[in-house]
Symmetry: C2
Subunit: 237 residues, 2 copies
Amino acid sequence: MRAEPFRDPKGVAKYRHEVLAVVFRVLADTPSLQVLAWQRHHEPFAGQWALPSGPVEVSETMRDAMERHLADKLDLVAVRHSEQLATLSAPLRDPAERTIATAYLGLVAEATEVVKGGAHWFDVSTLPQMAFDHDEVVRLGAHRLRGKISYSNIAFALAPDEFTLAHLREIYMGVLYHDVDVTNLGRVLTRRHQIEPTGHRTAPGQKGGRPARTYRFVEHSLHITDPFAVLRGDQKR
Amino acid sequence: MRAEPFRDPKGVAKYRHEVLAVVFRVLADTPSLQVLAWQRHHEPFAGQWALPSGPVEVSETMRDAMERHLADKLDLVAVRHSEQLATLSAPLRDPAERTIATAYLGLVAEATEVVKGGAHWFDVSTLPQMAFDHDEVVRLGAHRLRGKISYSNIAFALAPDEFTLAHLREIYMGVLYHDVDVTNLGRVLTRRHQIEPTGHRTAPGQKGGRPARTYRFVEHSLHITDPFAVLRGDQKR
DNA sequence: CCAAAAGTGTTTTGGATACACCCATGA
DNA sequence: TCATGGGTGTATCCAAAACACTTTTGG
């Protein structure tokens, strides 16, 4: 039986509000885009995989709530960029009680592991069935990330502090899911002042090969670097 | 005195949730981007201008609630495109009681008037002081629209069904707030199959001049026409 | 010397811009 | 035929892409 909503004296309904986190990392080797999920212990959807989530407390913003839940339940504090994705309001999306949920996109660097709370990283391309509408939220997050990586410096949040161009290429390939030319990637990002050489080089691999220069992202906060695809005009009136 | 939140037996807080609508139109003559606001009658912020808003009912989605409030309070049913903008959760944004609000961007065609409910169209560039955080929401909406008009066909929702290129240019100028070249605008939108000629022409103006062809948008739903600014690769793997 | 990996140089492409010029109408 | 506004043609620009070639390393 579905719970009746709370109403205040004027008859205005009150709802449970929770935050969801779609946390992505990219493994360069495969390369693949992975999302963090954990197994539910309680009904509804007990035993199924779900995104990290939790209610919003009275004196915190939704972003605070999202960070708090990731830290408390999963010991995850290494989120390097987060932004609001969407708010879900289908009346029956939670079978127990009407719950409005705001989803956040979170990005962590490649090496990030999560040991606590039975969490697991899943390839976005082979996602298991998920609780609630969480599959849809993951797809939405992947779509947002794919769009933004082309016209912003959002990759700073997925890459380590220091990386080679070959490594960065694999991160881009994991997100975009198509081939990316290393040479041109380096030139585009350099022209846009997104990356700069550190002056260091890596040790060459076991099978030889020229040692690669390493680079870093110039900014570690989100910047739109290609603001208007077209119709730029002369920006004067 | 601030109201205490409702809590269920397990101690989970429940919140008032409302929807906000940032409804834009563009007047071609000026040209200017205008937003719909109305004057509040009750505290808090009585007498100040505010965006149309209202609570979400138990069995409706937020989009339904937004459309319902616009129709009931302002007789506005001509919204040609709407999309979710953001959800606002600052704990003190509503001085009376914690209220989480989800803002929608709505677009109507130029001629759209609103007669009911004491509503008024304001130029976004000369916005009055607004209730709550509504100024910020208007700016967010304008920013979203400005970005999207360059890489999607979103202008279909602002233009009349049939228009001349000169007219469409003024709509783009109202949104982008910089000069747009008519010739190139027509060519870009034609190449992207966003617009097509209707085969009609307008009557020439009072002072003469060649009669203009009219055009229509091919699609009347949102399509991204310039999906990846760069790093397109060959789309093969 | 060869294989492997990184990096450079150079050409090509194609959408977008700029702008000169031509066309159709009213007075 | 002139003023006004619409439309066409074309040269130019420039970021991005493609790809051949050179450099630096280990074996």
